[in-house]
Symmetry: C2
Subunit: 309 residues, 2 copies
């Protein structure tokens, strides 16, 4: 097993099953979808539940765990600005990404049949995503804090008239029976998770890399166009671009220490581009962007997840 003290190299990711000792923080309870994403990112890792997103950042920064795996965008819900904010306020680096298709199951205690169900518990978003199925069943929907918590509640109270909408992993953990698989109305429900570490990986050029940056520009017509020109001129493909709604509140940026300076931005942009920061081309592009960006930070340069979700 590699030492965890030195900076990571891109080979860390190729054998992402680097020993059962790798501790990976995720937000939620055991059986949460984030835990499954952590397991996809780091097979055989020890997944460590955290109550809040921010506690997952803290856990990595204070060496309690080695990595964090956190959701950054969902195909239905969009980008999670709060986690972009946390990326800016903390000093962690993106070392990888993993796409995870959310597949809701209907769980109940063994012996309980579909027609026994009077109510179904889950997170409000999960209940909403299974609207059609649950309406057809004619059950009362009860909202709780999270999907895994719903499964835990049904199991520990040995409920005979209630089910839970949660992951297949939650069924396993809380010893529940899967009454139905894939009960979500919309099949295209994919969440993209980021893998975060204290040290950046040294990007290679041996396989497709992606780089995530955040930058701000002075306001005015055409400035974004100018910013995108630095990539277009160098034939660098963008996989994501998003302007952040104007923020009246200053951000605390971690670049200059955890108590770093407060900064105000007219606009913030998130851009992901298909290039490794090991390539001269990408370095030139960022040097060019830096000439007129009022703020620029590389969140990470990491291997693309090219797997099918």
């Amino acid at each position: 097993m590699r030492s965890l003290t030195g900076p990571l190299t891109s080979s860390d990711l190729s054998n992402s099953g680097n020993g059962p000792q790798l501790r990976v923080a995720y937000q939620g309870l055991p059986g949460a979808y984030s835990e499954s994403a952590a397991a996809k990112a780091y097979p055989n890792c020890e997944a460590v539940p955290c109550e809040q997103f921010e506690s997952a950042f803290d856990a990595v920064e204070r060496w309690l765990v080695d990595r964090a795996v956190l959701p950054i965008e969902n195909s239905l819900g969009g980008s999670i600005h709060r986690n972009y904010d946390l990326l800016l306020r903390h000093k962690l680096h993106i070392v990888g990404e993993v796409k995870y298709a959310v597949r809701h199951c209907l769980l109940a205690n063994y012996g309980v049949k579909l027609q026994d169900l009077k109510r179904v518990l889950s997170h409000p978003q999960a209940l909403a995503q299974c609207e059609h199925t649950l309406t057809k069943l004619g059950v009362v929907r009860e909202a709780v804090d999270d999907t895994a918590g719903a499964a835990q509640f049904v199991a520990s109270n040995k409920l005979q008239d209630a089910g839970a909408v949660a992951s297949a992993l939650a069924a396993e953990i809380y010893d529940l029976n899967i009454l139905a698989n894939d009960i979500q109305d919309d099949t295209d429900n994919v969440t993209r998770f980021l893998m975060l570490a204290r040290e950046p990986i040294i990007p290679g050029i041996d396989r497709p890399f992606k780089t995530s940056i955040v930058f701000s520009l002075e306001e005015g017509p055409g400035v974004l166009f100018k910013a995108l020109a630095v990539f277009a001129m160098r034939e660098i493909n963008l996989t994501k671009i998003e302007s952040r709604p104007r923020n009246k509140k200053p951000f605390r940026i971690a670049d200059e220490g955890v108590n770093g300076p407060l900064k105000y931005f007219d606009y913030l942009f998130y851009v992901d581009f298909e290039a490794s920061m090991a390539s001269q081309n990408a370095q030139n592009a960022l040097r060019h962007l830096k000439e007129f960006a009022t703020f620029l930070r590389v969140l990470g340069s990491y291997p693309m997840d090219i797997s099918q979700t």
Copy 2:
């Protein structure tokens, strides 16, 4: 009062208090933040609660109500892709926007004091947004379907040990006492709502207008750059740009009837720009964009909300 049968003109918005009869659909229960947004958009309107976002679209299309007011992006949560999807699948037009600052209050029955509270009910997102305050109070947090529902539950059960996190409007509706105002941790919690109608407004040039479009491009380096050039060349400022995560599933587009064709997209982009479609400049820009966009739809051209939130 104006007739509601003809196409709307931009003057509809200047006297948005156009009679108490205007029925406006919103998603949620009475006292939901969306209801307050509807009231800000259309003072003196009759706000009509809908259980789902889609039922609000249906209600307008079937003439059950005159308008819908729906959230499209939040400063913490990001864009609500699901509502963009609904805009594409339905035939409604954006006729205005309204920004609404979410201000959470702590509510309880009259006579109940802060120190009596053992638990606090609300939507999980609202509970999370008041993390610090609730932790300081040392109360148990209970997640329910929505903020207004929490207030209703506390009131109708005359709970003496429980409070709710909800809007000031919910306090009024359910006759609850406001124990604390503005208890959210993050003060910059602003939601942008769209005002939707069956007929587009005829955009004027008498005040600042904004136009929202959705388009798709063939994949490849530099195509987005080319698309933005059509605006930059004409000095049209963009207030929003967002690429939609790749969608494996086809969209059903309403352009050619409700059962319109299924279309597949490599990429979808959302752009808002600061120009009225009444201006020749904006028309030229869209004509130019249409030359190479594989799909283009104007969602609406409407007066900007320039009020302070």
